[in-house]
């Protein structure tokens, strides 16, 4: 029974990760051979759906027990979840606005970017999502060492993503922020997203430090859950931003 408990989340997490990786490869192939924005959108929606259901546990939002004591941890936990999701709904309007601005300014053209690098940073974020999920499920299963190790790897991958985008891609891009719509769109979208990744890393460092000092238990680890859900949310944003920046249409002339 106990083996089941620790094994299942790992296998589920792995399967989801593999599916996400596969879909990313499929996206890349779509862009290479068909150039269809509709197929790209469908692939991105499928990826986002997988993350929402299996990594962000959207179903937990609806599993609410109204009968328990209002002052109990369980009741407050459900309220906290609702608050976090409302915040993400609100935040997604910023990214939605950026996305609409991108479509308005660039239509079916895309900035001139290094494809290998784009795929690289996307993979980093994807792998980090897997480890974030590992961290959360390990803690829920009572394995503190695995939690700490996974959280640490997630932090490193997150830092790697930021270095990849801000440190490499921003320097290599053949255009500056003021050079036409591609500069406007690329630097604003990656900038807003990188800021969110940065806040996610700060959050991760906080839970890692508190985890080292044993502040979280199997029953009480809302901070870890919140951090994981937020991290996956930022990943979902990138699931839409990656094709919007790297794959849609043709390179701007």
């Amino acid at each position: 029974m106990k083996a089941n408990k620790t094994n299942n989340p790992l296998r589920l997490g792995l399967w989801v990760f593999l599916l996400l990786a596969l879909l990313t490869a499929v996206e890349f192939a779509f862009a290479l051979w068909f150039g269809s924005w509709l197929l790209l959108l469908l692939a991105a929606l499928a990826k986002a759906g997988l993350v929402l259901v299996y990594y962000m546990h959207i179903a937990k939002l609806f599993k609410v027990d109204e009968s328990i004591d209002r002052e109990s941890y369980g009741y407050k936990l459900a309220t906290n979840r609702l608050g976090l999701w409302l915040f993400m709904v609100s935040d997604s309007f910023i990214f939605g606005g950026l996305m609409l601005s991108r479509l308005n300014l660039m239509g079916l053209t895309r900035p001139e970017l290094d494809q290998a690098l784009g795929l690289g940073v996307t993979s980093l974020l994807l792998v980090s999502s897997f480890f974030m999920n590992r961290a959360e499920t390990s803690l829920a299963g009572g394995d503190r060492r695995a939690f700490l190790a996974s959280a640490f790897i997630t932090i490193l991958l997150g830092i790697g993503f930021i270095i990849g985008v801000l440190g490499v891609e921003w320097q290599l891009a053949p255009f500056g922020p003021g050079d036409g719509p591609q500069g406007t769109v690329f630097y604003s979208m990656t900038g807003f997203h990188a800021f969110h990744v940065f806040t996610g890393i700060v959050f991760l460092v906080i839970i890692f430090r508190n985890g080292l000092r044993g502040r979280y238990s199997v029953e009480k680890h809302w901070a870890v859950e919140a951090c994981a859900v937020y991290w996956h949310f930022v990943d979902v944003v990138w699931i839409f931003f990656y094709p919007a920046l790297y794959l849609i249409g043709t390179v701007v002339p």
Binding site: S90, L105, T184
Partner: protein, 629 residues
């Protein structure tokens, strides 16, 4: 002296000052190292001022102490769920408090302060407009690096945004104070977030006001590029201040939604919630989501100015009309954020003063949500003359006219409620009735702006100014006064002075109507809005004089209100009980409201507005049931 500096507000302001200095210093230092220009308008470069203002706002939050609990959590420490009652005196209003009632009062006082400042600015430019020709805001007049006409533009623009911020703070005050009491909650769902929402608004308001002294701006409250992309430094302060105030609105909306969903007392099914709670939910849905887009559109212009991004710069492939789409996607629904709580107040108070059930309760409840949702689809009616795609005009016209349907439901309900009621006319009721009439004026003057053919003539005229002042006063100011006169005894245990209240009412209402009717009259005849002068040959001088005099009378009534507020809080007639004979739970306990809200929990056992129905009950306190057994 030491006690003075331990107040959260004072410490926050000191921190903000030094934080802003540090921010300016950091950027100026970096620019100096990079060999860039460090001097600019008002001594420093624009990036230095912007970063300084931002850092100042952040350090304000640290200094005020509103982040303390979160910092402790981040450091792995536990904090008490509710702060103990050790700060029960006046000091609790000057620092972060977790009590929704205290935060409600903090919001209210800030809202009244911002309203007083914004209103005073209006008086200045209203005086200028009293006659044709430039009176005192002339080109030779110089202040804050602006000449008279530039100052006119700044005052006019800042009046708009300050009033909007004041309204947002005012509805936050009402929702914060009333919603937890109406649904029987101990506090908001997230008390710390609630305190944060209020305290971020303080540095935001300061930054917004600083735009007046830092060169001003001349775009009106809408901040359209390309003009805003090259307006003086004050523009950036305006953008930053509004963006920060937006967080207050977003997080406040989030808190209200979570509170209403999770913390209603047993038995309060959705269709037994008071109408004001429904209205708060509808408002919060808009402020939670749409507000992000005004913040985003303003930040985009800021980025364009700071880093040369080309969102709205046609020379760089940008699109100025895109700004208007993003901006109005919030700023139209925002007017429903302003009026929905007020209309909820009208529906909430009307049954109390006519002693009859609210007519069509379910329809009224759903109409708030209906207005909120349709409100997301109408923003294009502000852009009929902007050069947006032609084919969008007619759909936006019809979606806008559709808003009249749920609004009509509300009017129908109010008329049906008043019909054959036992009407009494204490001050709150006067404001409720005047609110209905003024909002009707605002509502009836709306469709001509929504209809493309007439709007092409009316766009950017004084007619629009008259129209939206009617909707804002009818939908917010009058119900806001009604709510304060109504709930004041709940807050202080004393009644507001009825005589002063009635004088204020009879001073405000006729002069306000004269003001807006004159506005609409000159607007129909072709008076442009946002201009400092007009041709005497147009014959508008008399109407403008009427407007200026009315404007001063409105200001006098607001002053009288503040005098009444202060006077009654100190020496008003004691009113410990249910003076309005209301069925609502907060009136069934002693006034002023106990710190813990309801010491004896209650359950909802009936309909909220069954006034005059023998034997009907809305709430039942648990101890009462024990005693009767």
């Amino acid at each position: 002296m030491k006690e003075f500096f331990s107040l959260g507000l004072v410490r926050g302001l000191v921190y903000q000052f030094f934080g802003a200095l540090a921010g300016i210093g950091i950027i100026s230092g970096i620019r100096a190292l990079m060999g860039l220009e460090t001097a600019g308008s008002f001594g420093f470069s624009e990036p230095a001022w912007v970063f300084g203002a931002l850092l100042g706002a952040i350090t304000f939050l640290f200094g005020s102490g509103v982040l303390d609990d979160w910092l402790k959590w981040a450091a792995g420490e536990e904090t008490a769920d509710h702060h103990d009652g050790s700060h029960l005196g006046w000091r609790r209003y000057f620092g972060p408090s977790l009590d929704h009632k205290v935060i409600g009062i903090q919001y209210l006082v800030t809202a009244l302060f911002v309203m007083a400042v914004g209103g005073s600015l209006a008086l200045v430019f209203r005086t200028e407009l009293a006659a044709s020709g430039l009176q005192f805001l002339t080109t030779t007049f110089q202040v804050f690096q602006q000449n008279g006409m530039q100052l006119y533009n700044t005052l006019m623009s800042l009046h708009g945004m300050l009033m909007i911020v004041s309204i947002l703070l005012g509805i936050a005050a009402l929702m914060n104070y009333a919603v937890p009491l109406l649904i029987g909650a101990r506090d908001m769902a997230f008390p710390r977030l609630n305190a944060f929402s209020f305290w971020i608004a303080v540095p935001a308001a300061i930054i917004l006001l600083s735009s007046l002294f830092l060169g001003g701006f001349d775009t009106g409250w809408t901040g359209y590029p390309p003009l805003s992309a090259r307006a003086p430094l004050g523009m950036q302060m305006f953008f930053l201040g509004v963006s920060l105030a937006g967080f207050s609105s977003i997080l406040g909306g989030l808190n209200i939604l979570a509170t209403v969903i999770r913390l209603r007392v047993p038995g309060m099914a959705p269709f037994r919630m008071p109408i004001f709670v429904w209205a708060s939910v509808a408002t919060s849905i808009i402020s939670l989501t749409a507000t992000q887009l005004i913040g985003l559109s303003f930040q985009m212009v800021m980025l364009q100015r700071l880093f040369g991004l080309g969102f709205f710069d046609p020379a760089k492939g940008g699109n100025p009309v895109l700004f208007q789409h993003l901006f109005w996607f919030y700023s139209h629904p925002a007017v429903y954020v302003f009026v929905l709580p007020g209309l909820g107040i009208i529906s909430e108070l009307l049954p109390v003063f006519v002693r009859k059930p609210l007519f069509g309760y379910r329809w009224v409840a759903m109409s708030s949500l209906g207005i909120a949702l349709v409100g997301f689809l109408v923003w294009g009616h502000h852009m009929f003359t902007s050069g947006m795609a032609e084919y969008l005009r007619v759909p936006f016209m019809y979606s806008t006219l559709l808003v009249a349907v749920p609004t009509g439901v509300k009017f129908f309900s109010w008329v049906g409620t008043v019909w054959r009621g036992k009407i009494s006319f204490p001050t709150p009721m006067l404001y409720v009735l005047a609110g209905i009439i003024v909002f009707l004026m605002g509502g009836l003057t709306g469709p001509p702006n929504a209809t493309v053919a007439t709007d092409l003539h009316l766009h950017d005229t004084y007619y629009i100014v008259g129209h939206f002042h009617d909707t804002m006063f009818g939908g917010y100011i009058f119900p806001f006064f009604a709510a304060i006169y109504f709930w004041f005894p709940k807050v202080t245990g004393r009644r507001m002075n009825e005589t002063l209240g009635k004088i204020q009412f009879w001073l405000l209402t006729p002069s306000f109507l004269a003001l807006t009717f004159s506005m609409m009259q000159v607007g129909l005849l072709g008076m442009r809005r946002r201009v400092a002068d007009y041709d005497p040959a147009l014959g508008f001088d008399l109407s403008h004089l009427v407007m200026t005099i009315s404007g001063f009378l409105v200001a006098a009534s607001a002053l009288l209100f503040i005098i009444n507020l202060i006077h009654s809080a100190r020496k008003g007639e004691p009113a410990p009980g249910n003076i309005w004979d209301s069925r609502s739970p907060e009136w069934q306990v002693a006034s002023p409201m106990p710190v813990e809200n309801y010491e004896i929990p209650f359950e909802v056992v009936g309909e909220p507005y069954d006034y005059g129905m023998p034997g009907s009950k809305f709430v039942e306190f648990k101890r009462g049931r024990h005693e009767s057994k």
